[in-house]
């Protein structure tokens, strides 16, 4: 299942809300929290990370992990946090609207 265009940004921002993560960890976090239903390859995720970084919603820093490995870690900025709230509410509205349209009408339920 491929996420809708633009939803990927939202997923990344949301994932980073709980703390900084490196690129691969973001991909696995999304997969895990979607119950394996959203399997986003790191390759697809990576350009989005760069885009968000350019927009200033996240920033990145090289850090050394507990296993003494260097990794580039992304964290949410203040601007990114505001965007996340805004986009989340827009998304919820959108889902509700689509669900309203898709809800089967009374007479059609069984046909």
């Amino acid at each position: 299942m491929e996420p809708l265009y633009g939803v990927l940004d939202l997923l990344i921002l949301r994932t980073l809300l709980f703390g900084p993560l490196h690129g691969y960890a973001i991909a696995t976090a999304i997969r895990d929290s979607s119950g394996d239903r959203l399997n986003i390859e790191f390759g697809s995720l990576y350009p989005a990370l760069k885009r968000l970084e350019l927009k200033g919603w996240i920033n990145a820093k090289w850090e050394t992990s507990e296993h003494n490995r260097r990794a580039k870690v992304y964290r949410l900025t203040a601007v990114g946090r505001r965007r996340l709230h805004q986009e989340t509410s827009e998304w919820t509205d959108f889902v509700r609207a689509v669900a309203g349209v898709l809800k089967p009408a009374a007479g059609e339920a069984d046909s």
């Binding site: 490196h22 790191f42 390759g43 350009p47 990370l49």
Partner: protein, 860 residues
């Protein structure tokens, strides 16, 4: 915010740092996880780079570099194509720039569209007729009194005459202008003041305005001119003002001089003036014309002797000024437009051939994964690179070409000072060249992208070449040949006219003849001092070593401007000034015929004995003898010339015919009168000296002889050869330019045929190889190839000849001694073009016969 961040990535080192950082990050990630789980990291990196935003720019840079490499590799074809387009751009911009400045740009006067000239139209009862710019003052005064369409009207006459601003008299262009001349042009002196009423009025004191150029030349700076005195027309005239440098009418005038003298004496057919007028703001040209027609019909009824069938017509000044020059410039414009068309067609054939030839390369790139848009973008860049190279070169050519045109233009082209490269035309031609490159460069390549990638790879480009492209190429070749025929025919006709003009039998020998235009300043009422001056000068000149013969005349051959009429035996009773037979009038000194090599067929030359107080005599030319006397002997008969007096003269000699109006016109009847018995125009004669060798070398000593006698005498030295060259200046300009364009067109067309045939030969090499393997001999193959080229050539020639027949008819006025549909010229053009294109076809066809069937067939 994002934009500024991205802007940082324009810096190469920022981009390099980001690239290093990304590679490191991707390596660190790759170390953490299974490669397959991560997806395609190369694409990820590519897409991430795209987020920095300048990928497209980078790729375009790559494209340009690649395009330059490709173009350099494709060699001659590219260079030819670029030159061709540059030539088209340059030539068109140059010619149009001149056309714009001379013909289209409004005159630099206030409301120039309201200024008109008034000219006669001799109708002979018909709707149209010959126009004559010279008008008479009595007619003008009637027009002025009876018309209501004009705000201001003026008449003027323009002469080059002797003017003394300092110690020596020099020639200057002087316009004698009537009262309202300055008002017609709404021009104000930049320094000083306009004429006052007292200065303008008939018989008034008179005053002069001078041109900015003349003021600088004579007095150093314009301000110093005002208040100085000029001596001209035998009187002293104060300079009251300087007209601005932008004002130049009549063209090249140095001095505008008012107070034209008494009008009462002027005759209704003394057509020695020109008229200009300014329409009232509410008056249309049509209204003015209707009004003028009514007035001239009234004058026709009132003065039937002089004004029969004479109408007056108002013409916008600008159209009048450019007159004959317009048709020449439009001819040039047409010619360069054809060159541009041919250039576009040649470029198109070259591009089509190249595009098709590259089908394979493009298919390979597509097969290797290049996206369609990327390929198209690259092709676009390639076409644009060539187009802009052509444009850059074209701009250079336009600038140089415009300068060259201005420098080479014949002297009768007005307003050349204003010529500048025209930006909008330049833009137009550049855009056109870019469009041609895109229009013809892209489709074959696009076709390659559209088809199945495997197709061209499997079959070679041959399959593609057979489709659409070949028809387009054939049409282009036919068009090129046809356009070349039109241009070459036009050029050939003009060159033949030029040759005929230069070889026309003049009736006199211009070699080694020195001319010194000389204006004396007669102080005596009867001009006896002027006569004495010329008489003693001529006696002196004849003594100079190296002088073979010397004379003097009013209108030197080729430049006689005096045009009047004569009667034989007696004047008709009823009306002295109507129905005289037309003849040129000339006043000459003894020895002139000898100096000019005009043979005396019968009778004698004048002598110094033919002077005032002695019996009046005349010499006529053979054309007049034929016209007036048929076979009978004219010697001793009486002739009356409508010149300075109507006294009868006895014909004492008959001389050979000379083309007195220039080489383009057959000799007309002419009456020669002795200079000691007649006034001559403004006391001006051309001293004519035949020398044993180089005529110009003798000039200074003859000039000194004249100046020794009086500093008030102005002189101008030239040679008869140089004077005659002026007649040929315009035809030569036309013939050279058209000839040049024709040669260019020819080369382009040949390049086009050669290119296409060579290309077709290459494309069909497999077919040819197969045929040869199956037993076809070289001649069969040769004919196969030639046949196709010849068919295209034949169609092109037919279309071209039809086009040429249509277009050369329009230029019959520029032709001399050759008809617009001259069969020999056409035959020559057809034969020449046919042969050349045969050659252009033969070379690649011949090469095709050398194909080794084995080599070709093995290529599959």
């Amino acid at each position: 915010m994002m934009f500024w961040r991205r802007l940082g990535y324009l810096l190469p080192w920022r981009r390099r740092a980001a690239e290093r950082d990304m590679q490191e990050e991707l390596r660190s990630i790759a170390a953490m996880a299974d490669r397959r789980e991560l997806g395609n990291l190369t694409i990820a990196a590519e897409d991430a780079r795209a987020e920095w935003g300048w990928t497209r720019l980078e790729q375009t840079g790559q494209d340009i570099r690649f395009a330059l490499r490709t173009l350099r590799r494709s060699g001659v074809a590219t260079i030819v194509g670029t030159l061709v387009m540059a030539l088209g751009i340059g030539a068109n911009t140059a010619v149009f720039s001149v056309v714009h400045a001379v013909l289209l740009n409004p005159l630099p006067y206030a409301n120039p569209e309201r200024i008109v000239t008034l000219t006669y139209l001799a109708t002979d009862g018909q709707a149209s007729g010959d126009r004559s710019r010279q008008i008479s003052v009595p007619d003008f005064l009637d027009w002025q009194a009876q018309s209501t369409s004009f705000e201001a009207m003026a008449y003027y006459s323009s002469t080059r005459t002797s003017v003394m601003a300092g110690a020596l008299a020099e020639y200057a262009s002087v316009a004698r202008v009537s009262d309202d001349f300055v008002r017609v042009f709404a021009v104000q002196p930049s320094i000083g003041r306009p004429f006052t009423h007292e200065e303008r009025r008939e018989g008034g004191t008179g005053a002069a305005l001078v041109s900015d150029r003349y003021a600088r030349q004579e007095f150093g700076e314009p301000a110093r001119a005002v208040g100085r005195t000029l001596r001209l027309f035998n009187r002293s005239v104060p300079i009251v003002g300087v007209l601005p440098a932008t004002f130049d009418y009549p063209l090249d005038t140095d001095v505008w001089f008012t107070a034209v003298g008494s009008r009462a004496q002027l005759h209704r057919r003394g057509n020695n003036f020109r008229a200009v007028a300014r329409l009232k703001p509410d008056a249309s040209l049509e209204r003015a014309r209707t009004e003028l027609t009514t007035i001239s019909e009234r004058l026709d009824a009132q003065y039937p002797d002089t004004n029969r069938n004479i109408r007056v017509i108002a013409t916008p000044l600008q159209r009048e000024m450019v007159g004959d020059v317009a048709s020449m410039l439009y001819l040039l414009l047409g010619a360069v437009a054809l060159v541009l068309l041919i250039a576009c067609a040649t470029m198109a054939t070259l591009l089509l051939a190249r595009g098709t030839a590259r089908a394979t390369e493009i298919a390979v790139r597509a097969a290797l994964g290049a996206s369609r848009s990327r390929i198209v973008r690259q092709l676009l860049v390639e076409a644009s690179v060539q187009a802009f190279a052509a444009a850059a070169l074209g701009v250079t050519l336009a600038v140089l070409g415009t300068r060259a045109l201005v420098a080479l233009s014949p002297p009768d082209v007005p307003r050349l000072d204003d010529v500048a490269v025209n930006g909008s035309v330049l833009l137009f031609t550049v855009v056109l060249s870019v469009l041609v490159c895109l229009l013809f460069g892209l489709p074959p390549a696009l076709q390659a992208v559209r088809v199945d990638v495997n197709e061209p790879l499997r079959h070679g480009a041959a399959r593609l070449a057979g489709v659409g492209g070949s028809r387009a190429r054939e049409v282009l070749v036919v068009a090129e040949i046809a356009l070349a025929v039109v241009l070459v025919t036009t050029g050939a006709l003009l060159v033949r006219s030029l040759v005929a003009l230069q070889e026309a039998p003049l009736g006199f020998e211009p070699a080694n003849v020195l001319l010194m235009e000389t204006t004396a300043q007669p102080r005596q009422r009867d001009w006896s001092d002027a006569r004495a001056f010329f008489q003693s000068l001529l006696a002196d000149v004849r003594q100079l070593p190296g002088v073979v013969a010397a004379g003097a005349m009013m209108g030197p051959p080729g430049h006689n401007e005096s045009d009047s009429g004569y009667w034989i035996d007696r004047m008709p009773e009823a009306s002295p000034l109507s129905v005289a037979r037309p003849a040129a009038m000339n006043v000459i000194a003894p020895g002139s015929f000898e100096a000019l090599g005009i043979p005396i067929a019968e009778g004698r030359d004048f002598s110094d004995g033919d002077m005032a107080g002695r019996p009046r005599v005349a010499i006529v030319n053979q054309a007049l003898a034929r016209a007036a006397f048929g076979g009978r002997d004219p010697l001793g008969r009486v002739i009356i010339a409508r010149y300075d007096s109507l006294e009868p003269m006895t014909i004492v000699g008959v001389v050979g015919d000379a083309r007195q109006y220039g080489p383009a016109r057959e000799p007309q009847p002419e009456v020669y009168m002795p200079y000691l018995q007649h006034f001559y125009n403004g006391a001006t004669l051309h001293v004519i000296v035949k020398t044993a060798s180089n005529a110009a070398a003798l000039g200074p000593s003859i000039q000194r002889k004249a100046r020794e006698r009086s500093p008030e005498v102005s002189v101008r030295l030239t040679t008869l050869d140089a004077l005659l060259a002026e007649h040929v200046a315009t035809p030569r300009f036309r013939a050279w330019l058209l000839g040049l364009f024709a040669v260019v067109a020819l080369c382009l067309a040949m390049a086009g045929i050669y290119g296409v045939m060579a290309y077709v030969a290459g494309q069909r090499s497999k077919e040819i190889g197969l045929r040869m393997a199956l037993g076809a001999g070289a001649p069969t193959v040769l004919w196969l190839m030639l046949g196709r080229g010849l068919k295209l050539t034949a169609i092109g020639l037919v279309v071209g000849v039809l086009g040429a027949l249509g277009s050369t008819r329009l230029m019959s006025g520029m032709l001399f001694g050759v008809q617009p549909h001259d069969a020999a010229t056409y035959a020559g053009v057809i034969a020449g073009l046919g042969l050349l294109s045969l050659l252009a076809t033969y070379v690649p066809a011949r090469r095709a016969t050398h194909i080794d069937p084995l080599v070709v067939l093995r290529q599959e």
